[in-house]
Amino acid sequence: MSEQVRFEGTNEQAAIAELVFKVMVTQGAFFGVSAPIRQTLTNLADFFAGQRKAEPKSVAQEIDAALQLNGEIFIREERDGEVFYITTRSGSPRNGPKIDTHAFRQRLHDPENPLPVDDISVVVTTTRPALTTVEPVFISDYWQQQAGLLPMPVGDEQAADEAVTITSEEEAAVSTPTTEAIAEVAEPVAVADIAPVAPTVSTPIPINTVITLPNGVQIDLRRPVADLMVQHGAALTNLLRSAIDADPLRRMVTFGSQVFPEATVANFGKNDLRRISDYLKETGEPLLDTQIIADIFYHNPRQNDYEPFRFALNYRLSREKDFEFVGVEGARLWSVRGLPAIGTKRVKASEMGQITGYLEEGFDDSLADQSVDLIRKNGSLTHILSFFEWEYGILPYSRALGALLPTALLGDQRTSVLRFEFPQHYTSVLAELRYPTGNRGGWLQGLEAAFHEYLVPGAMITIARSSEPHIFSVTYEEQAEDEDRILALDETKKTPKFTFTNMIYSCVVDSDMLVNQQQYGRLRNLKAFPMSERRKGDVMLEHVFQTIGQPVGTRAEPRYEANITQLYVGLNVLRPASREYLAHLLAEGEHIEPGASSDTWQYSPPPEPDTGEEEDDEFDYDDDE
């Protein structure tokens, strides 16, 4: 290489320059041809002084003089009183690429927010984990912006330039015009933490202490934390939670409202998970995390690592697809695939979600008689059982019930398992609370056996909280035993049929809602539609009209009249419905119009196409019974 380089100066100076060049090229033997090789004058002088047995100071002067004459080959730099010489293997440092361009740094910064390692591992892995877990794939903001999923930040390039000259703390508190709330601060560290060799910013950067929340509210970080928490606590907490969840490095993990560093979360092996699964199946019902820890892992709550271990158990189980969290705040219950289902099998979840959809559509009048505050304050609510609720042991998740029952602890939680005690009978049952999703309503199921055992349709019950967040009680006011013929669904035959049977009950009932033969004898003619049909409230109402309504038309133009109470009770035999939903159906019904009196309605079935067959009178009116 040196053959191509010509050195200037006297013979002695040229020789010195060539020697220095050789030394530096040897030093950078593995560098790129145009990569800068740097050395201090002091080091060079020490090296040659040792060889020549001369005074380093005089050697330094000679080298300095010789190299300055070869300015095309050596670049001289002076920093902090130290002289540096820079050359390249090609001997032409001024013609090479810009010397402050560092290939590694460029790779580190381009793109500005590099693709997280998680993504790469997901893409390139060829091995399958022993235990499959659903791992979220994090896509960095950069790629989301490129894909158009996120808006391009304003002044992004400017911020990127500044990132080289300021530290990340400054970025958190100073840069970014709107400071992108807390999530911005949670960006990976590696990107903007490289300080420059020589600060190039000479003008002071204005300190921006205001962060802007996604809702546009601006918060000045100089204000006391307590004030900020009182005013914006919920929003800030949600932002921090989002930042933690979106952190590609996954430094912290959450379970419910708890947070813990991921690196210190204990792992559970395949064998541990199998033991937990077996234990749950053996017990036959969901178990509390504390019980699992005590019975399987023999951990004592007095141990220092009890809470971290408990968090680890909950967090790890939440990542396993075979386990399902069915607990609430304060009672973390775990279920496993294969446990017996809770509640009736006669109604599918998908059908029930549609049937109770009217609650999500705004026809929930459960708070007409009792306010949310009152329910929460008293910890109890009263409810009159409809036939459908009694028959299937299902209570629609109305706002009143929602005010009493606990909410889901996890964001993606579908169900909670609660225990309902019947203290008057010293029994308890497990019930499953299905939370509403989208336009599908929620409901509570699993009370069928207890309702049939102790209550009748129309019974007035009180549901109350207990000291445990997942345990509730169902009580009723007792009265002297009474016997009546009450509607029941006979499913012993091929086609289920409504019928009236003798029942003895000792609970206080709402006389209008008591579906007995004396008041609602015609309901025995109701058709027990399949559940998939019952979601159609208008069709069910028309059928109820035809069944329970008083015929007021002619054979050619039939017309049925019924009052609100009859319709409400009749409709609630086939499916749950609020009075508000009933009023909506009546108002919107194409063939329904107000009747003779204020609380009656009439339904005129549309004329059926003439098929030439005699219509069978399938209804068996028995008003006289």
């Binding site: 560290v189 590696a190 907490t237 430094r251 409202s257 708890q258």
Partner: protein, 52 residues
């Protein structure tokens, strides 16, 4: 030119939060963590104001 000895690794407020959480050794409530995070941010802002 990039000099290796001048490459420093910065520390975000979130890093400090993680360190505190780790040092604490116990799972913490997200509300407590938010308060602590705000305190750290506030300290950083005040420190920056003093140096500016």
């Amino acid at each position: 030119m990039m000099d290796g000895k001048n490459v420093i690794y910065g520390e975000t407020a979130l890093d400090r939060l993680v360190q505190e959480l780790r040092a604490n050794g116990q799972p913490q409530d997200i509300t407590w963590l938010t308060e602590r995070y705000l305190e750290i941010l506030r300290e950083l802002v005040q420190a920056e104001e003093q140096t500016a």
